[in-house]
Symmetry: C2
Subunit: 338 residues, 2 copies
DNA sequence: TTGTAGGCGTTATCAC
DNA sequence: GTGATAACGCCTACAA
């Protein structure tokens, strides 16, 4: 026979003083037991833990944070959680922190610079131990990045602003694009299916770098630049067809763009990879949803998460700013087979 | 000529006392100006704001939180941020909080009950103003939900545990399944394409309810139960084909399952919707990635986010626990056309 | 309207 | 090894 259990917000919080009184010791001793900061005689330890348990005591981390000057909190600033690659980064960052007693504040900027600025201020006001941010814009986000870095340990994730000497962890885009161009040179008859690039305007370092390394390898190839989203991939296909292409190898700057490209090619009755090959970049989980499966370059998000954690919890409190580039892996799919 | 600007973590934080000294007023006055809690003579106000600005003062929210007993923080507990529907909920919750000076702690439980338990404890220790959680399990998460509700304002999101009188905001699954069954009765020749259900084991209220309402309408139809993921959708197709079906209308309990179903049908050379119709549930953004586009029932995530916010920032500090069910919308796609 | 002072819950320093 | 006590940064009676 189960009874309705109802919601009854807290009467008054149990504090260390309550535990101390109950256990017949001083608050200092309670603190030492709870925080395990110093050895305490076993008898007192048991008394304290017993009292704490009976009273349902739980440490108040706000009080602790104020006293210690550390919050065990990191702030993650991300342009859009609806973007599968960004939410994947958030997921793996969260799991990397798992067990380190660190919690993660998440703030979505919706790609808006002013919102991004406020997000940084909010995190700093909350005294986060570190700010991890995916800057919205390669240039215009510089002020926010520098502001964060001046007041807190800061790591740029995935994208970095130009000209700021602040930690960065992201994919080695040069190497990733190298994997793609090598695949094309080896497996594709470029005379039959010329390479085309569908990328993003150079407002982010990722868009910038991927474009640069593609054009270095295929300087004569046409390029189309838009946004990092599904809709742009669709539009790009229309432009490519208007420009008279009927066959080709479309290199997209991101999987999400590639998925839009594939969807639109299907819509026009074109076959992948028979008419157009399609190659993506990022390795998002939903790339499996594509039909055919997407040939892409995968960023090792788990490793990226761990790397950020290492940087943040570095023993030296002030490590030299570094740009860490993680090597991506080629993922063979059917959208551009070997 | 731009110089390298480098990362130099804070010397010492500027405090209200510093501002007060500089402005030649008391800390109380500074506090009143900064927090806009009481009127202050304009001359002093200007002096304070000037001093604050010169010193680069920013309020320390940890100190404020300790004093006020409110942190302006809510904790979001989610099983998996890599799940597009959950990350979409996170995104819209984040944007709903935008401008309310409330920040969001996010914790991914990875579907693990013990991790979920620890997440709740961590949030409570951090004195969050509210806990918003998507429980992992319909029954086994009950303890965590009740623990949260006993210590803080708590809202269950999307899924609810049985037998706990705690706020809930989620989709009206009965109504959603009603939209689907109505579509089938109206647009599908069930004699030619019999209905099949591919759902999830009843470990979550969503899985439970959707299954229940489907079988109520189609009691004779075969049902296949697995997980809420892409891989299960693929497996289910193999089972359905092994069981000898060659045509049918597959109702999936979630879009993510439906996408796996479609991918696997293609793999077997079967056509959608010619051989098998496919219908999803949730309305995740990536449903557009499917080819053909997915016929589904969309949960209004924006409205869900706003509703949670309303509940949390309710003026009455102790509103009666309520289950709020938001009506979903039918989204016509090509995977099951009219 | 402004200042003084106490305390939110915790930890660190200093005695014992 | 243990206890008293002073901060941490802020807000809010209370007094002036």
């Amino acid at each position: 026979m189960r009874e309705q259990r109802s919601q009854e917000p807290t009467a008054r919080a149990v504090t260390m003083a309550d535990v101390a009184e109950r256990a017949g010791v001083s608050v200092a001793t309670v603190s030492r037991v709870i925080s395990e900061s110093r050895p305490v005689a076993e008898s007192l330890r048991d008394a304290v833990l017993g009292a704490a348990s009976e009273l349902g005591y739980q440490v108040n981390l706000v009080g602790r944070a104020l006293r210690k000057g550390r919050t065990s909190t990191v702030g993650l600033l991300v342009p859009d959680l609806d973007n599968p690659f960004f939410s994947s980064l958030a997921q793996h960052l969260s799991t990397a922190f798992e067990g380190s007693a660190t919690d993660m504040l998440v703030f979505s900027t919706c790609g808006d610079l002013e919102v991004e600025r406020r997000g940084v201020e909010s995190f700093l006001g909350r005294q986060v131990d570190a700010v991890v941010m995916i800057p919205c814009h390669e240039i215009d986000s510089t002020a926010s990045v520098l502001r964060a870095a001046q007041a807190s340990l800061t790591v740029q994730l995935d994208r970095q602003v130009v000209d700021a000497d602040v930690h960065f962890v992201g994919c080695d885009n040069a190497q990733g694009m190298g994997l793609i161009t090598r695949h094309i040179r080896r497996d594709v008859d470029v005379a039959d299916k010329p390479a085309v690039y569908v990328g993003a305007h150079a407002v982010s370092s990722t868009g910038h770098e991927r474009f640069e390394h593609f054009t270095r390898e295929f300087p004569e190839s046409p390029t189309y630049l838009g946004e990092f989203d599904f809709g742009w991939g669709q539009q790009a296909v229309d432009q490519i067809l208007e420009d008279g292409m009927t066959r080709g190898t479309i290199v997209a700057a991101a999987d999400i763009i590639a998925l839009g490209v594939i969807a639109r090619l299907h819509h026009h009755g074109l076959r992948v990879p028979d008419d157009f090959r399609v190659i993506g970049f990022d390795g998002i989980g939903v790339a499996r949803f594509a039909h055919p499966t997407l040939t892409t370059v995968r960023q090792p998000v788990e490793e990226i998460g761990r790397t950020v954690l290492d940087l943040i919890s570095s023993p030296s409190s002030k490590p030299a700013p570094r740009a860490i580039r993680i090597a991506p892996n080629f993922v063979a799919g059917n959208s551009s087979p070997a």
